[in-house]
Symmetry: D3
């Protein structure tokens, strides 16, 4: 099968990283097409970025009509409802996929994301998906998305200290890493803290593989009906 | 004070109607600027239209930097969070304003909107605002937005029969007319059915007037912080 | 238009202060009638005061049959449902009005009120209005209502420190000042802390002006039906 | 032990009926004092009656300072929070008691009450107690409270047909009879429909007996603290 | 009447203690049969113990077909739904009974239980009963159940310090002692902290006495229907 | 990878069917071990069956210590929390898996299950998982589980008519077939009604494949900690 994983911002270095993470978990017979919007903001943090990147996202998706499933590789699940209305193949956001995965292996999880400004959008999503009650807390490191690209040790230190607080204060039993740029940290942090650390890219790819294998598509009656 | 009321679709006949409805309730010293997006869909029904009209909406708003408040004249409250992040004056969607007004004068209300496809978006909004528990039901007439423009008697018949069912079956004590194009029907229906019928344009204009008179602006710390 | 703003306790110095705050935001052509109950408790803190002041409140309202709208100037929204059943003009409590205003300009707000004993009543109201999910926390300063009248610097110090904690710990983006006696502090605190500070009296007056201008009255079918 | 069961309306024939129902379930060593307010409305239906009867209720309670527990014999649980603040013995409303009893013996219950106008108050109570999720629906027979006194066959017919609908449509597994005046119908209806039919007077008396036997009193820290 | 109080673990010293606590609150004419499962785990902490002890519990109950009511004396309310399906007499879990009692005398309560591992099960129960909104927090002392048997002063110290934190931080107005083994501590702690301290065994016995006196049985239509 | 799919009842014909459905969606390199409990009830309908089959389920699982993931093939998600405590590999119930799948491809879904008596258990599960808000309704066909084995045309007729009602009345956009024995009906019904029809066995197998491919295991801190 062929899965389109699309980064809704225009930073191609991040798209590359996302492609690598996607291929690392995909089945041998799955083809991963990693791409990004051709126009729009360089990173997505807060409601304004989320809104302005959607048309570029929809255009880029329209350039790939032959895929079997789509993963939106931004933790805000940018444009998720619009994309589901645009296509009929299964569509998952990486935030959404990560929350579902966390709910399947832990009683309660916390999310570690980048900026405080992104927290309300993620909380709204969790409420909309019904999974807010499984989420102990959404925590911000206040590290900008693009900073994660640079591999600064101070950055990693901040993430690790938020995980520790999530375990001790929130009673978190699993951690969702709330940004596509954090994908490569997952297994180290899981080993260090002795609990599942979930990356949305991996969750998104494997769950759409599952949906395709089930023969399931996005419902086209009701909310996501085509015009 | 100067209020921008913006129709996020490009149908100028609807913008005109909205402007008339806005001026009818505004204070004598309030200046109403009624406008619409210069690009984007002709009507907004369902998630895809909502998403694609936002950039045009933000651009048009940027052309009016001197206003004291903004009302988004689409019942989906299209781009509400993005607009609040873009500006610092108070911003209301007409759906949001109507739900708040209904909650202030009735214990329970029902919403009558156009297409079934629009219902899930409105339900999501109600949940996000916390007002879902005051809303007995969102009902669709399955009349397209632009059809309302034509004044067809069959259209009005359908709206009236949904109001009747809302009173009898939902226990609705007030009706929210869930589309900007229905604004001129309000007082007739209220008289006919003996209960408040709320129009979002009127509610939106008068509530932003209230916010401006309170000296209140959109909070710029947290969710709606500027970059 | 003529608005009755009624203080349900019998402390006339507080009624005076409320009248001043009301006139400060009312439109030029709005006449404010500020009054208080002729019998009942001197201040309202906790469930017993709330219950015993209602008959005096209803009697006083019956003395003003010619008003266009009513604002109940106690943060507990004392007797709100009863007053809505008694009259047919729009009726708002100042707590209710403040929560709606806060929900329109911020993603999350905290309430600063007087005594701890008043907190559960406010939390119950927030839940009933549906707005509990927008409220991060109701905080008490443990300053008695009447103490606020005296302008003690220690009082102001306590309010300011609670606002600081609300911003830092609750993630509050706006502050609701949860007592009618705090009305004159609003603009100073807003400037100092860089976020909207909402006073219920101002919100109440301007929102009922809006409802009257919309031609909206309290629904008289269902919950608030007259005998 | 000595239990005060107080009818917050002034209809003494109803107080008598309530006293009989109370004594029928009380332990042999429990003394039942059945009384009613000396002033206030003759029946309690809707928010206005609820509010105006509270002072008379509090006065009457103050005349009985030596009781071990109090049951408020109105299905609206009139003045419950105020009474809990006034005294320190356990206090239950008959609505509250009936909902708790129903939750202990059935997965889901429906309430049959008198007038439609009373439904929102009961729904608010259920939400406040947390038990709304166990309640399938609150149904009104639209029979006035005092009509129940007259033993009209048409009245009973209406009650029975609402029970039937509650079982078939709501999936109710138990029925709460939502009015003090319905107390004597309980066992007949239970036998006829083959499911538990719960009377609030019986539930209220036996539950306060239980609380007294547990040595439990109303908490006087927090919400119900005395002045 | 004859009440079966059954300890679902096999530790008979605990059963004895439970029997003593049960008889201390039961009416003079109530016969208490205190028993325990003949097979299964020695203590119940966490989901695995809860699941494995149920068949032993059901078998033991089948040996006592002549009782008028059943109390399950484990704070997890082990097997509650299954027992209700097995029999037709009223059945209460001691956790369930304690939460209902706490809701009747306090606006908000906290639960103090043994191991952290038990907390999620109790939280799930509270959500299922609808009473989660009355519970400020479930706190663990991390003292194993059987340790409570030994009367270690360090154990009591830990319980007392958790109660103090519950009052100060959670705003708890009542405390539920979340383990059958804590039954004898109730009155001392209540006197020391000046608030109600609720023991589930006492609450369970007196509430099933109440249900029996009401003539109420477990509903046998719907969820608890016999085969 | 090796997945254990376990039928918690002892009806081996059903186990066979489940194994076939599981292998039909599993990846080529996934080994499916389909088994059932050696002791316990022949079918699982209602709380009593759920409780009594768990020990047999845990024993059978202990006989397969070398598997990479476990799927519990009963729509009640029998013993799910207990199994997660017993093992450390990922564990999914087929009900749980189906609800997550439905939430990923539709805005709202309905569940069609067997007996009315099973409905409350499924509703409790949905509430516990947080997904109750995505579920429009759980509908019963009142066809016993084992009857499904017989291929009676009346059975299929009843299922099809419930699907039709779910679409028309509940606004369901996807259907979850709420019983393991319905697995083979999925694709026909999906084609007939033009919406996704979800089978829990297929969803369960493909989602645990996804979790294993993510390197995710059940969290062993908190709720599911081993002794």
């Amino acid at each position: 099968m062929k899965i389109l994983i699309i980064n809704p911002n225009t930073t191609s270095s991040m798209t590359k990283k996302i492609g690598v993470a996607a291929r690392a978990v995909a089945r041998p017979d799955t083809e991963i097409v990693a791409t990004n919007s051709q126009s729009g903001p360089a990173s997505i943090q807060g409601f304004l970025d989320v809104a302005t990147c959607v048309p570029g996202l929809l255009e880029e998706i329209a350039r790939h009509p032959d895929v079997d499933a789509i993963v939106i590789a931004c933790f805000d699940d940018t444009g998720l409802d619009a994309v589901r209305t645009q296509v009929s193949v299964p569509v998952l956001g990486i935030g959404e996929a990560a929350y579902h995965a966390a709910s399947m292996i832990a009683n309660k999880f916390s999310v570690i994301t980048t900026l405080s400004r992104s927290v309300p959008g993620l909380e709204n999503n969790l409420m909309k998906y019904g999974l807010a009650q499984k989420c102990a807390r959404v925590r911000a490191t206040d590290i900008p998305v693009l900073k994660l690209e640079e591999g600064d040790p101070a950055t990693l230190y901040k993430i690790r200290s938020e995980i520790r607080v999530a375990i001790e204060q929130d009673g978190a039993e699993a951690i969702v890493l709330g940004c596509a740029g954090m994908a490569d940290l997952m297994s180290d942090l899981s080993a260090e803290f002795g609990l599942p650390v979930i990356d949305g890219v991996a969750a998104g790819i494997t769950f759409v593989e599952a949906l395709v294998n089930n023969g399931l598509s996005t419902s086209k009656i009701g909310a996501y009906a085509s015009m």
